[in-house]
Amino acid sequence: MINAGTGNEAVEATQTFTYPSPFRAFWSGFSANRGAVIGLAFMLLVLFCALFAPLLGLHDPIEQFRDASLLPPAWYLEGTWTYPLGTDEVGRDLLSRLCFGARVSLLVGLCAVLMSLIPGVALGLAAGFFPKVTGKLIMRAMDIMMALPALLLAVAIMSILGQGIINAMIAIAIVALPGYVRLVRASVSMELGRDYVIASRMNGAGLLRLMFLTVLPNCLAPLIVHATLSFSSAILEVAALGFLGFGVQPPTAEWGTMLAAARDYMDRAWWVVTLPGVTILLSVLAINLIGDGLRDTLDPKLKRVA
């Protein structure tokens, strides 16, 4: 906490002004948004399951219990608490596969966000600071990437690179890149005309200092919001790639590939189709709720008329 009343004895004696720390100010805004808090709680739960999946005493996600295939969840008559959410077509424990699947989705999502955030910020700053030639070239290239539908581009990239978890990250990161570049460039060109930037220039700030220490911190709010929302689309895209058979390879537990395999059994076993899908939906929904909450708190200008 910053004590604002220092230096003036008389004022300090009667009243102490305290400003809330930035984090506390953020939290009081964020926690007022019920949806965002619920979303955050759910994502913490998913994160916990993902981080501690091996320690939770679950079955091995790829171990096949052949005599227990397509068992329903435990609350059914035929179900057992050995497999709380039932088993899939070759008798693998669904709960364990969902928890281990969360590791893949979160890891791919997180890495994909970082892998598009860093070059995205760099390109966006370059485009914003040098709008004449470099900026035009960069934005033209981004237009080209935007014209290709995201999923098709991701599929094409996956078939060039080959399947696998790292390649899925790269494909998703490339697809997300134009969004970051556009956002950063737009905020940078808005900030560049402000007085504080001119003042900093007059003080002799170098280009890198202007870019990263003067302008970038003022573009962070929309960037954080965008990164959150692109995290949720990354999770959707991992699952979509897995579903189409271009993603993470079986037998690795991954939500999209689980759905693809379960398609053939949906007339007999609703749980093998429903549960992975519900998990994807709830995770994406939770992240979107967090994103909305962040936007309302960090970037009141963008706040939707509520």
């Binding site: 949806g35 033209r140 290239a141 237009d143 080209i144 990437m145 935007m146 014209a147 290709l148 539908p149 995201a150 999923l151 098709l152 599929v155 094409a156 990239i157 078939s159 060039i160 080959g162 949720s232 959707l236 699952a239 979509a240 579903f243 189409l244 999209g256 759905l259 398609r263 949906m266 007339d267 609703w270 189709v273 429903t274 992975p276 899908g277 994807i280 939906l281 994406v284 929904l285 979107n288 709720l289 939707r304 008329v305």
Partner: protein, 342 residues
Amino acid sequence: MFWYFLKKLILVIPTFIGVSFASFALIHMMPGDPVEIMAGERGLDAAQHAEILKSLGLDLPMHVQYGHYLLSIFRLDLGNSLVTHEPVVNEFAKLFPATLELATAAMILAILFGLSAGIIAAVKRGSVFDHGVMSLSLAGYSMPIFWWGLMLIMYFSVYLGWTPVTGRISLDFDIMPHTGFMLVDSWLAEAADPAGNAGAFRDALRHLILPAVVLGTIPMAVIARMTRSSMLEVLGEEYVRTARARGLSPWRVIVIHALRNALIPVITVVGLQVGTLMGGAVMTETIFSWPGIGKWIIEAVGRRDYPVVQDGILIVATLVIVTNILVDVLYGVINPRIRHER
């Protein structure tokens, strides 16, 4: 207006060339040899292999191949599929109506329900209906549509048996592809042969409804959210208060005065959804075995059918670019401020 349109069109040419380069580069970076794939199991000796490579022009240096490709685009003479040996343009023309029909149906559903839900939610702000629409649209926006499709199939097709699972029409109808749009063709077929094709139109409609709902879900959610927030903003304007003060009926104020201005951002959103729709079509068509271009391109990627993927991606990207220009122009038409600004 015309010059404005022309300027937009000229600005797009470099983007278009870039897209053609991207699609060319993407497909040539893919591992795997198309000649081997054409030969299949038979196996070729080196001489035959070289000969086929030469006849396809795949032995030339890359920049020459790209030059040929660019020329062929401007002559509107794209390559032949390596698998079916049909011109890619013909295959595209045969399959595109299916995607267009699906996308149009999806968009009609999305606009119809999204727009009306958004308007009512804004007018009845804070009501149960408003909260319901907002929650549903948030869920719709987060929906993994491949799973959503499976769930709808599981409930409506497998459990209730209301709708068929795959394809565009049942095989027992004799439909002539006049237009390529199954709804129109089945209607024509029913009119021509009422006895033999009784119920063909209904059958086509039943095939269309689930895929259209699935494909329309995300645009519907986005449109509902956008309409609501844009309506709320406009409803707070002074001219709306003036219109009310003059004693106009509430619905007249909402529909005639407020909605017209509220639609401006909504139209942009609708335009942007076209790209999403093309991506969604890939998923939807795969799930419902809908014979459209999304499924076609995905299958061509698997077969390494170079020309089909290359030109398919190019055509889809061109569609997206053209729609964006149209949206831009439409934006100028409905919002004079923007037209004159530029």
